[in-house]
């Protein structure tokens, strides 16, 4: 097969105040024509830097120190800027990570696409517009004639990403680069975009390079995979080989750490110990050796050999070739090569008795417009129900997962429980005490018992405070005196396994996982009974994610904590939650024990969510997308069942009748008139 793009011995440094960061070292891999190739790696592995090197759009402090990027017969690195520009958007195009920020907000799609076609002087204005409309139709944007004149903010997230793909494909590029194309999207949207990319690839015959940390996406979409670690390609091969016969210990560990690949439900997820190495220091031996479970003395001193099985298929490891080769490596897939942390957790306390937190029929409404404007427009009810009839309880020592897509009202519910928002109706009790709309002066003492872990680990920490000040701040806020703050800070740092020297650091000096630990420490400072965690693993790499979840499980076992975990990450919540509540448009559509919900979902939406997560297994690719369309706006709540507009099993009755909450056996509840049966 022809090679469209050939990256050979690419090395690249970033000049920073800390010294030269060797971001890419000796990267070589071919991209074959007509294939989808995935570059997978954790943050800091340099995978996006490769994309920007191909485009010639590197940051100003980047310096290519060697190698070449051959696109067809041209070396993109030595090409003049004007020839490179001629290739950009015309022969090589990009689908960007976050469609919310990568499209200019002040120009219509028609105008943006018109600009992209500027190199086609023989096309008239009307023809360019026609081309834009045609491409929008092909990526599945309904009513493209009208929508092409809209602005990005008038599109929903999924539609924006479709428009982004339309813009990238407009010129019919030979090579399409996709930088984390689904990371900013919800599960059901992600499945649709993967499906769309696959369809377009076979339709246009383009070659696609996908960069992602999401193993499920890679397994579902790609033909070939390149695995990167700390600026090096450590393994490359066909997708089946990588996922089923990984040869490099890091690839093996990465796959084992993915919660979606851990079949058996476990409270302790596998982790790769240690951190990504400091790339300013000169490397000696294998870059992965400090974290490798199978490291030998040689690994720390001698560069690993490249063990190739076929052109473009290789792994760099001493275990595979040379005097230290181990014929028993790699072990069969059933053998776990990485640890799961320390000892096993004690059995879970039976979550029974009176609930710690009990919410009944809670209703939260938001005003959509002022009373005068509503009167003028003849709208009697200028409100939307962000949370509707929600009943939920958390018992002592229990972990409850609150799952839903963005806009489902899960964060609003969390904030209402914490008395940060007013609710309209219903009851909310904490330890038997009515807390709904309680005045802040009376609620404040309760805040010691209910702590919050915020979504953005770094953004929720004040950049001007040291870690020590941050983790003792809750004590000061609640006026707890008579304790030595230094002792407290060390105690808390110890609890979250944060080394002491970190106490004097500031948030920007922390990695994502470390910042998350600080967040956990802040939540724990006042010995709470309940922790509400909003997306506790968002933005964390797979290997770090396991560490944080294991830490949370350990703390729960030690201190009898209860967790209410707000998340959209189903593979993770499957392992850690005792019970799940699935939210859609502000309502809980299904609730019950986690195992039962995953095994046989009763509500079609739950089924769509469970099936919507791409499986990190190339043999289990989906043929079809289980759910189409998007979450409707709260302003246009369907008259019948909220899910009726997207439900694959919808019946006429669903469109007119709002289903109440039904009780099902085994402590389950659902809100579906025709619950799924599983034979």
């Amino acid at each position: 097969m022809d090679t469209l793009l050939d990256i050979r011995n690419l090395s690249l440094d970033f000049r920073t105040t800390r010294g030269r960061v060797k971001a890419l070292r000796d990267i070589s891999f071919p991209v074959r024509k007509g294939r989808i190739i995935g570059i997978v790696g954790e943050s800091g592995s340099g995978k996006s830097t490769i994309l920007w090197s191909i485009m010639g759009l590197l940051a100003g402090n980047a310096e290519v120190t060697g190698g070449e990027i051959l696109f067809e017969d041209r070396n993109m690195l030595t090409l003049s800027e004007s020839s490179r520009r001629a290739a950009r958007g015309e022969e090589i195009s990009v689908v960007f990570q976050d469609p919310m920020t990568s499209q200019i907000p002040v120009l219509t799609y028609a105008r943006q696409m018109f600009d992209i076609l500027y190199r086609r002087p023989n096309l008239s204005r009307a023809q360019k517009r026609e081309a834009a409309i045609d491409m929008m139709r092909r990526v599945g944007i309904p009513d493209p004639e009208a929508r092409v004149d809209q602005y990005p903010h008038q599109f929903s997230g999924g539609m924006r990403q479709r428009a982004g793909i339309a813009m990238a494909l407009l010129t019919g590029p030979k090579l399409l680069l996709a930088d984390e194309p689904t990371t900013a999207l919800d599960v059901t949207m992600e499945a649709q975009i993967i499906h769309l990319l696959q369809g377009l690839q076979s339709e246009f015959g383009a070659t696609i390079v996908v960069v992602s940390h999401n193993l499920g996406l890679i397994a579902e979409l790609c033909d070939d995979v390149v695995v990167m670690y700390a600026g090096e390609v450590i393994e490359a091969g066909e997708v089946h080989d990588i996922f089923h016969h990984a040869r490099h210990p890091y690839t093996r560990a990465l796959l084992e750490c993915d919660p979606a690949r851990v079949e058996k439900v476990t409270r302790r997820l596998p982790v790769i110990p240690g951190d990504i190495p400091d790339l300013t220091r000169p490397r000696k031996g294998c870059i992965y050796s400090p974290r490798c479970q199978r490291a030998m003395p040689t690994c720390h001193d001698v560069d690993p050999p490249t063990a190739a099985t076929a052109p473009g298929q290789f792994a760099r490891c001493h275990l595979l070739e040379g005097p230290h080769a181990d014929p028993t490596w790699p072990p069969p897939a059933s053998v776990l090569t990485v640890g799961r942390g320390t000892e096993d957790l004690p059995p879970r306390p039976d979550p029974a008795g009176t609930p710690l937190l009990d919410v009944r029929d809670l209703n939260v409404r938001f005003r959509t417009m002022g009373p005068i404007r509503a009167r003028l427009r003849g709208i009697d009810d200028p409100f939307v129900d962000a949370v509707l009839d929600v009943s939920l309880s958390v018992r002592p020592g229990e972990t409850v997962g609150l799952v839903g897509e963005s806009g489902s009202g899960k964060t609003t519910l969390g904030r209402t429980i914490l008395n940060l928002l007013r609710s309209e109706a219903g009851t909310a009790t904490f330890e038997g005490q009515d807390i709904r709309n309680m005045p802040e002066s009376r609620f404040k003492p309760l805040r010691r018992d209910m702590a919050m872990m915020f979504q953005d680990p770094v953004g929720s920490l004040s950049p001007r405070k040291s870690v020590r000040a941050l983790i003792t701040e809750p004590l000061l806020i609640h006026g707890i005196t008579g304790r030595d703050l230094d002792v407290e800070a060390e105690r808390l740092a110890d609890m979250v396994r944060l080394p002491k020297p970190f106490l004097t650091r500031y948030p920007h000096e922390l990695s994502g996982g470390q910042a998350r630990r600080v967040g956990v420490a802040r939540a724990l400072a006042l010995n709470p009974k309940l922790i509400i965690a909003d997306e506790p693993t968002a933005g964390l790499d797979v290997s770090v994610q396991g560490e944080i979840l294991n830490l949370m499980a350990e703390l729960q076992a030690e201190h009898g904590l209860s967790y209410l975990i707000i998340t959209h990450n189903l593979p993770v919540i499957r392992h850690i939650a005792d019970r799940l509540a699935i939210m859609y448009l502000g309502r809980i559509v299904e609730q019950g024990p986690t195992g039962a919900i995953f095994a046989n979902p009763l509500h079609p939406y739950t089924q769509a969510l469970v099936e919507g997560v791409p499986k990190p297994d190339p043999d289990r690719r989906r043929k079809h997308v289980s759910i189409s369309g998007e979450v409707p706006s709260l302003l246009r709540r369907p008259p019948g069942c909220d899910f009726a507009t997207r439900c694959p099993y919808v019946q006429d009755r669903c469109r007119v009748e709002k289903p109440p909450h039904f009780d099902a056996p085994a402590g389950r509840q659902h809100a579906c008139l025709f619950p799924l049966t599983h034979n």
């Binding site: 960007f96 920020t101 200019i104 120009l107 500027y118 003028l376």
Partner: protein
């Protein structure tokens, strides 16, 4: 959008009304009888009484206010205490001179400052950026009256290239233009640096946005990316700044109008304050305020037109 327009217009009128009340009460807060103050200590009691009756000073204060507002709405801002000419006519005669000065001053500042800021942002930390920075700070720091006097000394007295004082022969646009150059230069100079700094800062921010990288990744030409995309977004805060700047300039012209003896609103206010010609002061300040509010309103509407996100959130 229409609702927004009406809301903003209503609010603007409320602000103008509040200004009228403040202006009006200012006059009544000055110790002593307004008629005596206006006519001076040597006025006869009959003259004072006549004046008081004419100016409705014998009525209760609230009634005076109502009369004033009622007249103002119909365009009658009272009469000059001394010449008895209508204040409205006096202001209208001079408004053109002031407005041309403000527009010319801000105009050349924008024409020079905005591209300078763009250039500095496109090539940050180069000699170009450095020079722009120095020029900006220098022009902001030097007071405009000083610039005016130096300009007078050099171009009018020394080189004799430009006329020194006045606004030019009525009807002779060429002459009026020559008379406008120096005052406009002096008034706008500080704004060159100010706008350049502002545009540079917001351009630098926008140039780092992902959508600028997208535009580059689609192969758009650098000029298109800078002026068609980045500036399109970066200009928005600058428009607000220019709008507010007009207000500042209306008062800054006082200096220029006095130094260059231009018969503008600023000079009118200055002269009337000196002569205690309160109806003129009131009327001129009211018109200046209304103009300022109008310009701010226009700049807000302009932003709503340029930024669809703002438009849709109205």
């Amino acid at each position: 959008m229409t609702a927004y327009l009406f809301k903003r217009l209503g609010l603007s009128m409320a602000v103008v009304l509040a200004v009228v009340v403040v202006l009006f009460s200012l006059l009544h807060m000055i110790p002593g009888d307004p008629a005596t103050i206006a006519l001076g200590p040597r006025a006869t009691p009959e003259a004072i009484a006549r004046y008081a009756a004419k100016m409705h000073l014998d009525q209760p204060v609230w009634k005076q206010l109502v009369i004033y507002v009622g007249n103002a709405v119909t365009g009658d801002l009272g009469v000059d205490v001394f010449s008895e000419r209508p204040v409205t006519t006096m202001i209208l005669e001079r408004l053109g001179f002031s407005m041309s000065l403000v527009f010319a001053g801000m105009g050349w500042a924008a024409v020079l400052g905005i591209p300078l800021g763009c250039l500095a942002a496109v090539k940050p930390n180069t000699w170009l950026d450095w020079i722009t920075g120095v020029i900006s700070v220098a022009t902001i720091a030097v007071p405009s009256f000083l610039v005016s006097i130096w300009a007078l000394l050099i171009f009018a007295v020394g080189l004799r290239w430009l006329p020194a004082i006045g606004a030019g022969e009525p009807g002779d646009l060429g002459d009026q233009f020559l008379h406008l150059i120096m005052p406009a230069f002096a008034v706008g100079l500080g704004w060159v640096g100010y706008l350049a700094r502002m545009v540079r800062a917001s351009m630098l921010e926008v140039m780092g946005e992902p959508y600028i990288r997208s535009a580059r990744a689609f192969g758009l030409k650098p000029n298109k990316v800078i002026f068609g995309y980045a500036l399109r977004v970066a200009i928005l805060p600058t428009i607000t700044l220019i709008g507010m700047g007009f207000g500042g300039l209306i008062s800054a012209t006082v200096f220029a109008e006095i130094i260059f003896a231009r018969p503008g609103i600023g000079k009118l206010i200055f002269d009337s304050v000196m002569a205690r010609n309160f109806p003129v002061v009131q009327g001129a300040v009211l018109v200046a305020t209304a103009l300022y509010i109008l310009v701010v309103l226009i700049s807000d509407i302009l932003i709503a037109m340029l930024d669809p996100r703002v438009r849709d959130s109205l």
